[in-house]
């Protein structure tokens, strides 16, 4: 069908803001997000600039999705812990976070998730290496990457904390 398309694209977790910018760029061009999968984005044709798209890392919580719906947002889909919403521009401004504190706690959630997976990979990698299992390096590589991601998230958090030291 011509009015639908799927794009495969990879974003690093710490670039979630770039992912969101890209999704909104697509929406501005008349392609609004309609489904998500692993590195897979499904779009449906809409009027250009008809929707605002937002994404967020949030634990599994149906109450939250109901709450978002109640405020006029449409739930698009979920990829593991990442949830995607859209809202018609004509229904008003759409943001998930409106103050620095909630943006910081969102970054904390992402950081926590990265640390848990990072530590698991580090442990598995080390155990495998000590047992002369040759694939141990894969986990160590993953752990290194996740630690790098954690650093990026931490950098974003520090920038926000600097702002918050003077204002809300």
């Amino acid at each position: 069908m011509e009015n639908r398309k799927t794009i495969f694209k990879w974003f690093w977790v710490w670039n979630f803001d770039k992912e969101e910018m890209w999704l909104n760029k697509m929406a501005n061009q008349g392609w609004v997000l309609d489904g998500v999968g692993f590195c897979r984005y499904k779009f449906i044709q809409s009027d250009s600039e008809e929707y605002t798209v937002r994404l967020e890392m949030h634990s599994f919580d149906d109450n939250y999705i109901d709450f978002m719906r109640e405020t006029g947002a449409e739930y698009v889909g979920r990829m593991v812990q990442w949830i995607y919403f859209r809202k018609k521009v004509s229904d008003g401004e759409f943001n998930i976070f409106s103050d620095i504190d909630s943006k910081i706690s969102h970054l904390n959630r992402i950081g926590k998730m990265l640390s848990v997976i990072g530590i698991a990979n580090l442990t598995i990698g080390l155990v495998n290496s000590f047992n002369y299992i040759n694939i141990g390096w894969i986990n160590l590589l993953c752990a290194t990457l996740l630690m790098y991601g954690l650093g990026r998230i931490h950098g974003k958090k520090e920038a926000l904390e600097k702002v918050r030291s003077l204002q809300e």
């Binding site: 967020e56 978002m68 109640e70 006029g72 976070f97 103050d99 809300e168």
Partner: protein, 105 residues
């Protein structure tokens, strides 16, 4: 409970809105109206704040009415004390500002 705290603007307006029972979207609209459009609460921020305030028992969730999925919240006695303390703090801040800047105002 430590009474000597400064509330965030979001917390202050949510507590004020819940002087009468409201559901989530109602709080957002009420806050925007009260602040003459200056404070726009985003849904994720509001959801987090409501959960935290329920935990602190500053507000309670009312039993869900039949046929409605919307959850309503209301301020508690404890929440009213918090709000009153905040109001006193703000009054004091405004008085200080006015005294010092009197000539410029």
């Amino acid at each position: 409970m430590n009474e000597n705290i400064a509330l965030t603007e979001a917390t202050y307006y949510i507590l004020l809105s819940l002087y009468t029972p409201q559901h989530g979207y109602g709080i957002m609209q009420h806050t925007e109206a009260l602040s003459a459009g200056r404070v726009k609460l985003a849904a994720g921020t509001l959801y987090g704040a409501l959960s935290n305030m329920c935990e602190k028992e500053w507000i309670i969730q009312l039993p869900v009415k039949d046929g409605s999925r919307k959850k309503e919240y209301k301020i508690t006695e404890k929440g009213l004390v918090v709000l009153q303390n905040e109001l006193n703090r703000l009054k004091h801040m405004v008085a200080n500002g006015e005294t010092i800047l009197m000539e410029d105002l």
